[in-house]
């Protein structure tokens, strides 16, 4: 099993969620994060002080899928999250040993 973790633009969440449920994913977990990358930030001005703000609001979406689903998940996320402009974000995939559903104790694919 794998976790597909995507850093996306915040307003793309609904579309990404829809794309994922479209390929049969039933659950995911979202975290508010700040991203630093090639996308330029903006300048904030507070009276005398000007600050270059380089950390931009992003969302991290984590979805656990069976290994054979990874490609489809990546395609779904890429399709939904892409605006074509710098800062669209990244997808990282990492392996997990195990998954457990707390309520039932089911494990692995049954836990999803």
């Amino acid at each position: 099993m794998k976790i597909v973790m995507a850093i996306i633009k915040p307003f793309k969440l609904e579309e990404v969620r829809d794309a994922l449920t479209g390929i049969g994913v039933h659950g995911l977990t979202v975290t508010e994060v700040k991203g630093y990358g090639r996308q330029k930030g903006h300048t904030e001005i507070y009276r005398g002080a000007e600050y270059a703000v380089n950390f931009l609001p992003k969302l991290k979406v984590e979805v656990a899928v069976a290994s054979d689903q990874v490609k489809k998940a990546i395609a779904a996320i890429t399709g939904a999250a892409k605006t074509g402009q710098i800062g669209d974000g990244k997808i990282f995939v990492y392996p997990i040993d195990n998954a457990v559903r707390i309520r039932t104790g089911e494990t692995d694919d049954n836990a999803l």
Binding site: F11, E44, Q85
Partner: protein, 486 residues
């Protein structure tokens, strides 16, 4: 006043002497009572509080946090710029006599830069012989102009350029607000009418009588168009609420819907702020309505009481309607109802009885609830913060309701006729025609005028922000700041 009454009643022996000095007395003109001055200063500061921070927070809480500052600054800017225009020429255009054919619609420049207003220059109230310092009248009315303009911002929220707002507001206040306020509220005042009427009454010779009648007619003709049409609007149902409400609707249609409207979740970022704002609106509205009486007298107390009752009734009406229809009573419903009640009672506040105000509030709550939910959803316009549904519709309910509730038979005060020095006969049909006329003319003038001004602004600086700026939020893009850094 107390002591004057006391003297009148208690010292008949002096009355003869008093008659002898009557001319001296008359020459002195209306009197200023410190109780009135104290109350009008208080009322003014209360109305200021309605707009900043009241309205700013009420609206600000309803937008997404990325647009919070843009809402706050737009309201704050509007307050400041309208205030400055008011003292430069707005007060004069609104509350002085105009000239020629336009006099029914707009005043002149005799008070521009507040020229001629000394600390103790008197301004008329609604009572013969009672005045307040003109300076406080200037300020009180100033706060009305400011809030009216600021109300519009709710329709344009979350997508309109700050530079467009900065340009639109001075134009709108000049070409839409000043004329409408002049039409509804400008008149020659009770003392002039009373004096002319007394001369007429005292006239015995028919030539003198004719001349006196002519003089009285001239005094009565010195007023705004809708005032003369007999429309009554105690504190601004037409001038403030219908006016801003229709300007808002036109604006939201021209600016277009927010990106994602109807698809994305756009919950209020802080209903806490909206609640604070609503409470401050109510708080300040006592100044707005009871201050509109211009005197700290029993008649102000009437307006004050109605401002309590209609508001509470309307808040409950909306809240229970929502509870029944949608299954849950909400904070936003209750406070929207309170604001709708305040709007509806505004024109009626000094005219209605207490139970009339209660009924008015109950009706307004259901009507506005229906508009902001069912009707708006059906037409799918993006009046972001429901300026039309609450202020324009609530204002219409109030303006028409005032025509009914002023009826003394329903506990209303009736309309005082200064020429005969008593309450006039009530005539439902005539009154409703006058009220409807005021509603329609306000809708047309403000609707068309605003549309033209939006177009001009669109051509000059553009109304709408770029779509990525809208996505990112107006705060960062227009102002380079964020509201919260927790």
């Amino acid at each position: 006043m107390t002591s004057k009454n006391w003297l009148r009643a208690g010292l008949p022996a002096l009355l003869t002497a008093m008659i002898a000095v009557a001319p001296a007395l008359a020459a002195e003109g209306p009197k200023i009572d410190k109780g009135d001055t104290a109350w009008m200063m208080t009322a003014t500061v209360l109305v200021l509080c309605m707009t900043i921070p009241g309205l700013a927070l009420f609206y600000g809480g309803l937008v997404r946090s990325k647009n919070m500052l843009s809402m706050l600054l737009q309201v704050f800017y509007t307050e400041c710029i309208v205030l400055l225009i008011w003292v430069l020429y707005g007060y004069s255009l609104t509350f002085t006599a105009g000239s020629g054919i336009s006099a029914d619609f707009i005043g002149g420049f005799s008070r521009a830069f507040l020229a001629g207003i000394a600390p103790d220059t008197p301004a008329a109230t609604f009572t013969v012989g009672v005045a307040i310092p003109e300076g406080v009248y200037v300020m009180f009315q100033m706060t009305f102009a400011a809030i009216t303009a600021a109300l519009i911002l709710g329709s344009l929220a979350e997508r309109t350029k700050f530079s467009a707002i900065a340009l639109f507001m001075p134009l709108w206040i000049t070409f839409v607000y000043f004329p409408i306020a002049h039409m509804v509220w400008y008149w020659s005042g009770p003392d002039a009418i009373d004096a002319a009427a007394k001369v007429l009454a005292a006239a015995t010779d028919s030539a003198v009588k004719a001349k006196a009648q002519e003089a009285l007619d001239a005094v009565l003709a010195d007023g705004g168009y809708l005032y003369k049409a007999g429309a009554i609007d105690f504190a601004g149902g037409t001038v403030v609420h219908i006016n801003s409400g229709i300007a808002g609707l036109v604006g939201c249609l021209l600016v277009g819907k927010r990106i994602g409207y109807g698809r994305e979740v756009m919950p209020p970022h802080s209903l806490t702020m909206t609640m604070i704002g609503a409470c401050l609106l109510w708080f300040g509205w006592f100044g707005f309505n009871a201050g509109s009486n211009l005197e700290a007298a029993g008649s102000a107390v009437v307006a004050f009481l109605n401002t309590f009752i209609a508001t509470a009734a309307c808040a409950m009406s909306w809240m229970f309607a929502e509870w029944i229809v949608k299954g849950k009573p909400t904070v936003l419903g209750a406070v929207s109802g309170a604001v709708a009640g305040l709007v509806a009672v505004t024109p009626a506040s000094g005219f209605s009885g207490a139970m009339g105000a209660l009924v008015l509030g109950l009706v307004a709550g259901v009507v506005c609830f229906f508009f902001c939910t069912t009707i708006k959803n059906a037409f799918k316009y993006d009046d972001s913060l429901d300026v039309f549904g609450v202020h324009c519709i609530g204002g219409i309910v109030g303006a028409l309701g005032t025509g009914i509730l002023v009826n003394p038979a329903l506990g209303g005060t009736g309309i005082f006729d200064y020429t005969i020095n008593k309450v006039a006969e009530y005539d439902l049909v005539a009154q409703m025609i006058a009220q409807s006329k005021a509603v329609v003319i306000t809708l047309l003038w403000s609707g068309i005028g605003s549309a033209i001004l939006y177009k001009i602004v669109d051509i000059l600086v553009g109304l709408r922000v770029r779509s990525d700026a809208e996505r990112e939020g107006l705060d960062i893009n227009d102002h380079g700041e964020r509201a919260y850094n927790m």
